[in-house]
Structure formats: structure tokens, C-alpha cells
């Protein structure tokens, strides 16, 4: 069985672009909406691509800007200049 990795984001304007990018780039991801927040679960791995997010925002996006709307994570983080990957190694 593959473990779920998760992120939770606030319902902010920037976060909507991130959520949209993440949902497009991770076809197996599932988004659940709660008051003021959205939780995205994905089996095994979840990728946040800088380019996809920047496309949707219509401006440059520094991956570290994700800190402005990130509420929670579950998974090992691997970050480079172009993407953040969350994954479990099991």
C-alpha cells in the first residue's frame, strides 16, 4: 500500500494558483475543501512545480513563497530551484 503524502494550504488568492498547478501536475491527487483551507492528498508523491505555479499567477514565483500560505505537510521534503517534491520512501 502506498502512503499518502499531503499538503494543506490556506484559501488565499496565491494558494488557488498553487492548488490548480498541483492538481494538474499530480493526476492522482485529491483535494478536500474545509473552512479556510484545502487539503491535498496524493499517493506516494506530490510535486509542486515552480513553472506551473508561475504560469497560473502570471508572474515570477519563488518556491519559498509557498511558506506564505502553507498550513501543513506530511512527507519528506525535497526542494531544488525548480520544484518541491513531497514523498514517502515506503
Amino acid at each position: 500500500m502506498s502512503s499518502l503524502v499531503s499538503i494543506v494550504l490556506q484559501n488565499t488568492d496565491d494558494a488557488r494558483a498553487i492548488i490548480d498547478a498541483v492538481m494538474t501536475d499530480n493526476p492522482e491527487a485529491v483535494a478536500s475543501r474545509y473552512p479556510a483551507m484545502v487539503k491535498i492528498d496524493s499517493p506516494g508523491e506530490l510535486v509542486m512545480n515552480k513553472a506551473s505555479i508561475a504560469d497560473r499567477l502570471g508572474r515570477d514565483f519563488e518556491l519559498q513563497e509557498i511558506h506564505l500560505c502553507l498550513v501543513n505537510i506530511s512527507g519528506n521534503i525535497d526542494e531544488d530551484d525548480d520544484r518541491i517534491v513531497l514523498r514517502w520512501n515506503s
Binding site: S3, L4, V5, S6, V8, Q10, Y34, P35, A36, M37, Q64, E65, H67, L68, C69, L70, V71, N72, I73, S74, G75, N76, I77, E79, D80, D81, W88, N89, S90
Partner: protein, 510 residues
């Protein structure tokens, strides 16, 4: 010394390289003071570190980025706080009962943020590795942020509602606040590696999502935009802290096989201590939020059973297993919120927040959310007390409860196999008897009895005459609890009367 000038423009560094140049090279091998004198606390716990540079920094934040992002968060947060108070946002809450969560927050949780600030400063000074030291320092200042943004948010509520007026005084004295206090005192009096296992891993990574995620979503649902904003703004730091928690655990486990049993022992201990501490959060989630988002049981399933399960499957490659007694904690998901609320209900005269019996709609919701426990064990209690209160005889418990030597919670929890039987454990150490609420707490004592014999149990302190006097009223004065205002049933409270007055002239709240 001459250096050839280098006129070629340096290549643009990637994030990781830049971070390493800006942090990792800062320390040096001492020549004039022995390393053991500069870092005296790094060895005694028995954790073996062979290569501090192998630590993977969470998110690789440099100070320039830190200042900019954090300032942006602060600007946004204070705009919400200002707007909330200028518009008297408190009148648009779902109900005045909600505010009791904030009373617990400012007296029981904000002081922990402050303690974390100081604790992370301690490890941020004393770890020999630059990477973990900087991550801990950033967490230290973040935790100060959390304490302060909570104060500034709740400051407005304090102007209108009771029970929030003297949080720092209360934290040092009030009986139920010894639960969070002893938890943090325990971690801060441990060595740096245990502190990080306790707070960064067991508490932040495994357990605090249960407080900050469903509860804060609940705050939004109950109309408290100021609190959800500080809550989620704090969580945006928290994800960095959680990553520190996971990285430090992996680091210890990877550095030396001999570290594995020590780390497992700490995970076991701190899972159990954290689980007990969260009893209060369970009660806030289920009982204090008038409009419900998610039950404690559902939160536990989502954030511990599912997310924690994935985490421990990941760590199993190091030989780490799910914390000892995790199955008892999971069995408790049907009970602890109800048992804790029933306890505060009967000691409501001695608490700085109000209690009440749940409404019929809430009871129906509990029956649905807790099919295996509520209707059978807890609904009848609240029905009974509700009837008794209607007849003018609001129930209270006139005895003082027996306190667990380790978690310092009254021994209110029941045996897994029988929810009508109180769980008690005991032992003798140096000829003195000690009592516990559970196997988990007794194990913790037996491992370090010299530490836990020192615990300042609140009921013992009262009997010893350390709390302002022998009578309950004197003790409550010593707590700075405004009797007749801060305590007792919500129905009879000034808060409820004020709420009624606010809303009498307007339309019914939607």
C-alpha cells in the same frame, strides 16, 4: 597576504549552493577553547554524531528571505487583527461559548509557544552543527512570534470577555495548566537531542496538526477570522518546524545505529506525553466549538492514524516502530474528549473558563460521530446533569482529584477494555508511593524516577499550603481567578449575559 583579484563574474549559484556558502562555512574548529567547553551538552545523552554536516536543512532559508517572508506574513496578519477589532468582529462569532477556546489558548497554549522560544534558543546555541543550530534559532524566533501574535489577537477578546486577563500568572499556578507546563518543563530540562525529539518530532510533526489544522478551520467556521489568521500564519512556520523535526530524527538514526533505541524510547515517551496533553485539544474541538467542522475522532484518524501511519512506515527502514501504546491512544479517540469535558464540567467552579451541557443538536452530532461510545456512556451523563441544572442544582464535584505523577492530569481516563473503570497504576520508589493514570505514564516515571519525583502536583501543593490558603476560595484568589466571572457554568456567566445583550437589539445570528 596577497590574493589575486578575480575579475570573472561568479556563476549564479543554485539555492542549495547559496545556502551552504551563506551558512555552513560560518563555524570553525576552536583553538583557544576546548570544544567540550563551548558545547558542553552535546554528548551526555548518549547520541552519537559522526558528521554534523550530513544534516539536511529544512527549506534552506537565509536571513534575507526569512525577514522578507516573515514581514509579509506579519503585515497581512496585523491587518486582519486591526480590522477585526475595529469592526468588533467578536459580535459576529457563532456564539459566546466559542470564546472559551481562546481562554484555554491564551492560558495554556501561548505560554508553550513562549517556552518553545526559549527552549529552541537553548538548543540553537548548543548544537555543535551549524545546520541544526540555525534551524533551531529560526524556530526560536518563530515561536516568539506565535506567542506574540496570539497575545495580540486575544488582547481584543480580553477587553470584552472574562478568563483571559492574567494568563502568565495563571500558567505558573492554575491546577490544570500544570499539564502543559509540566510537559514543556520536562522537555526543557532534558538534553538537546531529547528536546528536539520531544518538541520538533513527537509534538510538532506527529501531534500539533491536531490542534492547528482542524481547530483553526473550526475557528474560521465559527466566525473568528482573527484567530484562524494567526493560527494558519503560525502553521506556515510550522511546516518548516515539522521538516526540522523529521530531518533531525532521520539524522540521528542515520548517524549511528546505537542511536536507534534511544530515539525510539524518546518517541515512545513523548508520544504518550503529547497524547495526554492533547486531551484538552480534543475537548476544545468537540465541545467548545459551537459549530463543528470535524470530530476529534475524525481528526485523530486523519492526522494520526493516516499521516502518522505513513510517517512511521517511512521510518521503519531505520528500525523505528509506531510509538508504544499507540493502540491505546487510538482506542481513546472515542472517549477522551467526553471524559475531559465531563471533568471540567464538574470542576467548573475552579476553572477560568465556562462549561455547559451540550445542546440536543450537539448530542445528536456526537451520537453520529461517536457511534461506539457517546449514546452508551456519555450522553446519559450530560442528560442527567442538564436535568439536575434545570432543577436549580447544577452539579459540581466537591473533592479534589488525584493527579497522575507524570502527566499531572487528574486520573480520569478509563481502561481500554472497560470505559466505566478508571485506569490507575502505581509503583513505589525509595519507599514512597506514586500513582499514574496509565501504563504509559508509569513507564515514563520508571525510566527516570529521579526526575518525576520532583513534579509539583497541584492538589498536593494546595494541601501543603503553597497556594494561598486551605480554602478553595483562597486558592482561586491566588490563581487570580475572578470568582463569579471567570468560572462556573456558561448559562450563569457574565459572558452569556453580555452576548444576550449584544444580540437582543439585533436580528438573530444567522
Amino acid at each position: 597576504m596577497n590574493v589575486a583579484a578575480n575579475h570573472t563574474r561568479p556563476r549564479k549559484l543554485n539555492l542549495k549552493e547559496r545556502y551552504n556558502h551563506l551558512t555552513r562555512g560560518l563555524d570553525w574548529d576552536f583553538s583557544y577553547q576546548p570544544k567540550e567547553k563551548v558545547f558542553p551538552f552535546s554528548d551526555y545523552e548518549g547520541i552519537k554524531i559522526h558528521d554534523w554536516d550530513a544534516f539536511e536543512d529544512p527549506f534552506r532559508l537565509t536571513m534575507d528571505a526569512y525577514w522578507k517572508f516573515q514581514a509579509e506574513k506579519e503585515r497581512k496578519l496585523y491587518a486582519v487583527i486591526d480590522s477585526f477589532s475595529q469592526n468588533n468582529g467578536q459580535v459576529n462569532l457563532s456564539d459566546a461559548r466559542y470564546v472559551n477556546a481562546l481562554k484555554l489558548f491564551i492560558t495554556g497554549i501561548s505560554p508553550l509557544e513562549y517556552a518553545a522560544h526559549r527552549g529552541y534558543a537553548h538548543v540553537g546555541r548548543h548544537f555543535p552543527g551549524v545546520g541544526p543550530r540555525i534551524a533551531c534559532q529560526m524556530q526560536s524566533i518563530d515561536e516568539l512570534r506565535h506567542a506574540q501574535t496570539q497575545i495580540h489577537t486575544i488582547s481584543h477578546f480580553n477587553k470584552f470577555f472574562d478568563g483571559m486577563h492574567d494568563p502568565w500568572h495563571m500558567y505558573d499556578r492554575v491546577w490544570y495548566l500544570s499539564v502543559p507546563k509540566s510537559f514543556f518543563d520536562d522537555a526543557m530540562s532534558a538534553g538537546p537531542f531529547e528536546f528536539l525529539t520531544a518538541i520538533s518530532f513527537s509534538f510538532e510533526y506527529v501531534l500539533t496538526s491536531l490542534l492547528f489544522v482542524p481547530f483553526m478551520s473550526g475557528a474560521a467556521f465559527n466566525g473568528d477570522m482573527a484567530t484562524v489568521t494567526f493560527g494558519f500564519s503560525a502553521q506556515s512556520d510550522e511546516s518548516r518546524h515539522m521538516t526540522l523535526g523529521l530531518e533531525i530524527i532521520k539524522f540521528m538514526l542515520e548517524q549511528d545505529e546505537a542511536n536507534v533505541p534511544i530515539v525510539q524510547k524518546w518517541i515512545d515517551k513523548w508520544f504518550w506525553r503529547g497524547f495526554r496533553l492533547l486531551s484538552i485539544v480534543a475537548m476544545m474541538t468537540d465541545y467548545i466549538l459551537p459549530k463543528k467542522v470535524m470530530s476529534w475522532r475524525e481528526s485523530w484518524e486523519m492526522y494520526f492514524e493516516q499521516a502518522g501511519g505513513a510517517l512511521f512506515r517511512d521510518l521503519s527502514r531505520y528500525g523505528i516502530t509506531l510509538p508504544k501504546y499507540h493502540e491505546m491512544a487510538t482506542a481513546g479517540k472515542d472517549h477522551i474528549s467526553h471524559q475531559t469535558w465531563a471533568t471540567f464540567y464538574q470542576y467548573t467552579h475552579a476553572a477560568a473558563f465556562h462549561t455547559w451541557t451540550p445542546s440536543d443538536a450537539e448530542k445528536a452530532w456526537f451520537t453520529e460521530k461517536y457511534p461506539d461510545s457517546f449514546a452508551q456512556y456519555y450522553g446519559p451523563r450530560f442528560d442527567h446533569w442538564e436535568k439536575q441544572q434545570a432543577s436549580g442544582d447544577r452539579f459540581s464535584n466537591d473533592g479534589l482529584p488525584m493527579i497522575c505523577q507524570v502527566c499531572t492530569i487528574p486520573a480520569i481516563f478509563t481502561e481500554v477494555e472497560d470505559p466505566t473503570r478508571i485506569s490507575l497504576r502505581s509503583c513505589e520508589h525509595n519507599g514512597e508511593k506514586y500513582h499514574f493514570c496509565s501504563d504509559g505514564c508509569r513507564d515514563i516515571f520508571l525510566d527516570e524516577p529521579e526526575k518525576y519525583v520532583q513534579a509539583m502536583l497541584p492538589v498536593s501543593q494546595i494541601f501543603q499550603g503553597q497556594c494561598g490558603g486551605a480554602g478553595l476560595s483562597e486558592v482561586l484568589d491566588w490563581y487570580h481567578l475572578n470568582q463569579g466571572a471567570d468560572n462556573c457554568d456558561h448559562l450563569e456567566s457574565r459572558d452569556a449575559a453580555m452576548w444576550e445583550q449584544w444580540h437582543r437589539s439585533g436580528k438573530d445570528p444567522a
